[in-house]
Amino acid sequence: MNFDLTEEQQMLNDSLRRFVTNEYCFEKRGEMISSGAGIDKATWENFAEMGLLGFTFPEDYDGLGGNAIDTLVVMENFGRGLVVEPYLATVVLAGGLIRDAGNEAQKADILPGITSGERLLALAHNEPGARYNLSYVQTTARKDGVDFLISGQKTAVLHGGQANQLIVSARTSGNVNDESGLSLFLVDRNAKGVTVDDFATHDGHRTAEISFNNVSVSADNLIGSMDKAFPTIEKAVDLGIAALCAEAVGAMEAMNAATLEYIKTRKQFGTPIGKFQVLQHRMADMFIQTEQAKTMAILAASEADSDDRASRREAISMAKTLVGQAARYVGQQGVQLHGGMGVTDEMFAAHLFKRLTLINLLFGDADHHLAQVSDGLLARTA
């Protein structure tokens, strides 16, 4: 057993730490968010030059052959600096899915484009009313000669408005909640019949509501086997959850650092408020929650690439449960310990809190994942 980063990962960690500290400044980030662009081109090109955009892709496709632990290192730092560029959407979710389930032609076509920073993708899977149920898909893809016609509505498509291409899940057979009968298609963002409503999110990211109205897709844009996409979707989402857990840990560490600094310097009753035992214990609990979450983020990253579905899903859900709870506690208490300053837009802590809140809501909140763990437990003892 070994929890150490490799030498390369340590170097990656150091350079990312420098990047978010020195270059990804709060004011510039704020300007980019206000612009509504959703991505800063120079930052994205910088990521491409650093090799971040193809880190987990095979070397045959211009990648570096990395794994989910490398993603953990990247995302922890992104969490620390509240990076809002579409790394999760394009590289982790869509890139991971193409890497794991795409055919040779699709990988050769897409992965080098992501790596170079030219191509942005998004996973359009969630649907209205599905809440966190991954198999709930009403969007249909029906055969039209050799092609498919896709119709339906997708929601909470992270950075869907910025993507050039969408990976769309659709039902090719079965009923709305069936795990079988799902298929995945590559759809051009500008294809006829695709309508995108692009929204800001509370944490400075972007999300899209996307509708598909008889969108024609050729058969070579089918990803993986027809009707059998559910395990692929699940695995991509698990990669995304592991990445979000790591990002949350980075944000919690930044929250703890900012809060610690604040309670050491803010004086009331003639003394730094950090001298009050009630705040010391609160801060100690925030620290405990963060360390526990960090351990679970490591577990999630270690299991995220695994094809042992039961073991992977259990680890991911345990991690998202505890990380979600920790994100809530650390976020709320970080704001509380900042007092009135904590609820102002000018404080970094307020923005960390917003991101931590949204991370809990993405791909299943703590309640949802606790239910997953609980159901798995019941199934095994039945």
Partner: protein
């Protein structure tokens, strides 16, 4: 002991409900129930409607133009207003400065200030906190120096809620630096139109402009605007905070939010079932419902206690704010991923553009973020626990 309302109280409730049915304007009701952006004109219009009915000040005695209602009637009124979708009346005048003026002000001050509060003509804000004086309020430094018939005020106040609309501000100012910090404080009423006052917005984490900083640069305030005696302001300030904390229990508003939360739990889909059928969500809803019931009855217990609300008011502030925060957290969680979208333009009544999920999901996360203030302001919940430990438990 009898926890039922009397027939007279039930009749009163019916009367209030009928009045609200007939007099609460639809656009106001819609704005409140959809949790859209609050609006100054809306608050003023509603206060005027209540004033015209003679119900402008539900907590005041008739002597000052109030309703003369007993505490149970006040609670029934507040609850019915909240459930009907009426906007919250402005506390700063009605529940904060008015009791201070009535108790410690002179006759001339009562005649001068109280009518404008109950009619809604005068918008009041609170000048307590300063950048260096939050939880440690008594360390405030904004100074008022007596020069002839005036005080000259210099300094800065902060977290001034809705101060951008205000005609008047009630301020704690330092008139002496001798003795303990509490001893040199005075309570001064200041016209916001006086030269030398500058209001600067503070944008909150939900992106909204609700609070402000207020700067005083050689502001000349007539000495007749001093309440009570010079250097006795701390007594009045504490008296006011007791009233503020009781109001912060906010039971009526929370009951309205709970009612909506239960509806939302039926409307939101969790796959092929309504969210209410998700037992984990429903158990938490039930827990919160029980806590809200406990809060409601505790408020009634405290308010009907003839000894009045002593330091027990801190219990109401803590529980009221914690329950309110959890209600809005669950409203956000009910929206799930729909709640992530930030659509500030959708907080206006005439918005017809695209949104994500239901109309309840749109304000949900912003409300949750905004409500974090509840455990911080009015004396943070940590300070309230200190008060209970020291003044109730004698530790």
């Amino acid at each position: 002991m009898d926890l039922n309302y009397t027939p007279e109280q039930e009749a009163f409730r019916a009367e209030v409900r009928q009045f609200l049915d007939e007099n609460l304007p639809d656009d106001i009701r819609e704005r409140v129930q959809k949790r859209l952006r609050p609006d100054k004109a809306m608050t003023e219009r509603w206060q005027k409607i209540l004033f015209d009915k003679g119900w402008g000040a539900s907590t005041w005695s008739k002597e000052f133009g109030g309703t003369g209602w007993d505490p149970i009637q006040q609670i029934i009124f507040e609850e019915e207003c909240a459930l009907a979708g009426a906007p919250r009346q402005l506390d700063f005048g009605l529940r904060m400065v008015a009791p201070v003026i009535m108790t410690f002000g002179n006759d001339e001050q009562k005649q001068r200030f109280l009518p404008g509060i109950v009619s809604g003509e005068d918008w009041w804000c609170q000048g307590y906190s300063e950048p260096g004086a939050g939880s440690d309020l008594a360390s405030l430094r904004t100074s008022a120096k007596r020069e002839g018939e005036h005080y000259i005020v210099n300094g800065q106040k902060t977290w001034t809620t809705l101060g951008q609309h205000a005609d008047w501000i009630f301020c704690l100012v330092r008139t002496s630096t001798e003795g303990k910090t509490q001893q040199g404080i005075s309570f001064l009423l200041i016209d916001m139109n006086t030269p030398g006052i500058e209001v600067r917005p503070i944008i909150m984490l939900d992106g909204e402009h609700e609070i402000n900083e207020v700067y005083f640069d050689n502001v000349k305030v007539p000495a007749e605007n001093l309440i009570g005696e010079e250097n006795q302001g701390w007594t009045y300030a504490k008296f006011l905070l007791g009233h503020e904390r009781t109001g912060l229990a906010n039971v009526g508003q929370w009951k309205a939010a709970m009612k909506r939360l239960k509806e939302v739990a039926r409307e939101e889909q969790d796959g092929q079932r309504p969210l209410i059928e998700n037992t984990r969500f429903r158990d938490r809803l039930a827990q919160l419902d029980a806590e809200l019931r406990a809060l409601e009855l505790t408020v009634l217990r405290v308010l009907t206690d003839k000894r009045g609300p002593g330091p027990q008011a801190s219990i109401l502030k803590i529980r009221g704010t914690e329950i309110g925060q959890q209600l809005f957290e669950m409203l956000m969680e009910a929206g799930g991923q729909d709640a992530i979208a930030y659509i500030p333009e959708a907080l206006e009544l005439d918005y017809n553009g695209p949104r994500v999920g239901s109309a309840d999901a749109t304000p949900a996360a912003g409300d949750y973020f905004n409500m974090r203030k509840l455990s911080i302001f009015g004396g943070s919940n940590e300070i309230q626990r200190n008060i209970i430990a020291q003044l109730v438990l004698g530790l």
